[in-house]
């Protein structure tokens, strides 16, 4: 994810052009291969086993390697070796920038230091970003380090990257009491906690999510497209409820609700987490144990 975050920072700061960034991403995509494909190519797993693990990922919210080890298809050592072969995506990004002559290593270092300074990140934060650890990246971009918020947002972002678009990335989340949005699909969870989560965007930006999840080609964000967004939200909430049930926390999911016309969401310091995908911004909205109103 940090290749996207840092690349967009370089474009915004005028260090590289948008076209150069897109060129680097395209080359990077050709170089970096998914772990399952490498495992099959190395004859450590069969295609059927890799498919099975990929499918389990959508309902288990766990990494490919962890599931493969649990199923007995790979050992811990084999996963470590495969990850080395796959390489760190940020390092691939840096190498491609240099190979294409868009930036020197010194220029990249200077830009990275400026990014760190601008964002107020520590060296440890930067290590987490560069390592590609999605969980820690999500935590760094969250405003309030509440355990439930971290956990729910982590599941939402990981599931988004896994099911909707592997090139999606986040920018800093923020807390608000009111947010006006044009389209919104949400779901409430009741029980030991009162939770509302959902996705909102303006114009037709939610199509980036709806079309990919439903495998359709909606042209506008109508109720059918919002239904697909609601079903995706339902999957995320299911994964969250599943994880919480392991901690003896009971949560019941209510049917998703959709808003096709502009609405105002009001509450008490609810979290808005921007997700960038396909040049569009989709907001993941999360309220925990607070009243929230949508009108």
């Amino acid at each position: 994810m940090f290749d996207q975050i840092f690349g967009n920072y370089l474009v915004a700061s005028g260090t590289i052009t948008k076209e150069q960034f897109m060129d680097v991403l395209e080359s990077e995509g050709k170089i970096r291969v998914k772990l399952g494909l490498i495992a099959v190519a190395e004859k450590l797993m069969t295609e059927e086993q890799a498919d099975e693990v990929n499918k389990l990922q959508s309902i288990m919210d766990r990494r490919f390697g962890d599931i493969a080890v649990e199923k007995g298809y790979l050992s811990d050592d084999q996963v470590t070796q495969l990850l080395k072969k796959q390489g760190n995506i940020y390092m691939v990004f840096v190498q491609t920038l240099i190979d294409k002559g868009y930036m020197t290593l010194e220029e990249i270092d200077a830009a990275l230091n400026k990014y760190q300074e601008d964002q107020g990140f520590t060296h440890s934060d930067m290590d987490a970003l560069v390592s590609g650890d999605v969980d820690r990246t999500v935590q760094l971009f969250l405003p309030a380090n509440t355990q439930l918020c971290d956990k729910h947002c982590g599941i939402a972002i990981r599931t988004f990257i896994r099911i909707i678009d592997s090139s999606a990335y986040v920018s800093k989340a923020y807390l608000v009491d009111e947010l006006k949005v044009e389209k919104f699909a949400m779901q409430e969870l009741q029980g030991d906690h009162k939770i509302l989560s959902g996705f909102a965007a303006d114009g037709n930006d939610l199509l980036e999510l709806a079309n990919k999840f439903a495998g359709e080609e909606f042209e506008t964000v109508d109720l059918d497209a919002l239904d697909a967004v609601g079903e995706f939200t339902n999957c995320i909430n299911g994964l969250f409820a599943s994880e919480m049930s392991g901690e003896n926390v009971d949560l019941d999911m209510l049917p998703p609700v959709f808003y096709e016309n502009p609405v105002s969401i009001t509450g008490n310091q609810f979290c808005v987490f921007p997700i960038h995908v396909g040049g569009k911004e989709i907001k993941f909205i999360l309220s925990i144990d607070a009243d929230i109103d949508v009108k």
Partner: protein
Amino acid sequence: MAKILIVDDSRTSRKMLRSILESNGHEILDEAVNGQDGVQKFQALRPDVITLDITMPIVDGVEALKMIKALDGDAKVVMVTAAGQKNKMIDCIKAGANEFLTKPFDQQEILDVIAKMV
């Protein structure tokens, strides 16, 4: 091949299920958008298998399952759940659910479960 009634408030899920089942030779008798609608259509159509979403408005899947089983104890009902609905799943087992499918859908899992029912 089975004659199936799909009960789900989500158009996306109904369409995904219909597409997978029809392309593998099953017949979709009808669709229902909530539990109440589903029970009425079950009575009228008597399908071989009902796929019944748990989380629905008006009458949810657990209540609809109880009504369907009261009408026909042998009805073959596949409950459709998101991950994390453990307590609801236990309620469904107690009410006589025959099988479960988890969202997001996996084509082979759907076909295997339906094959077990017929």
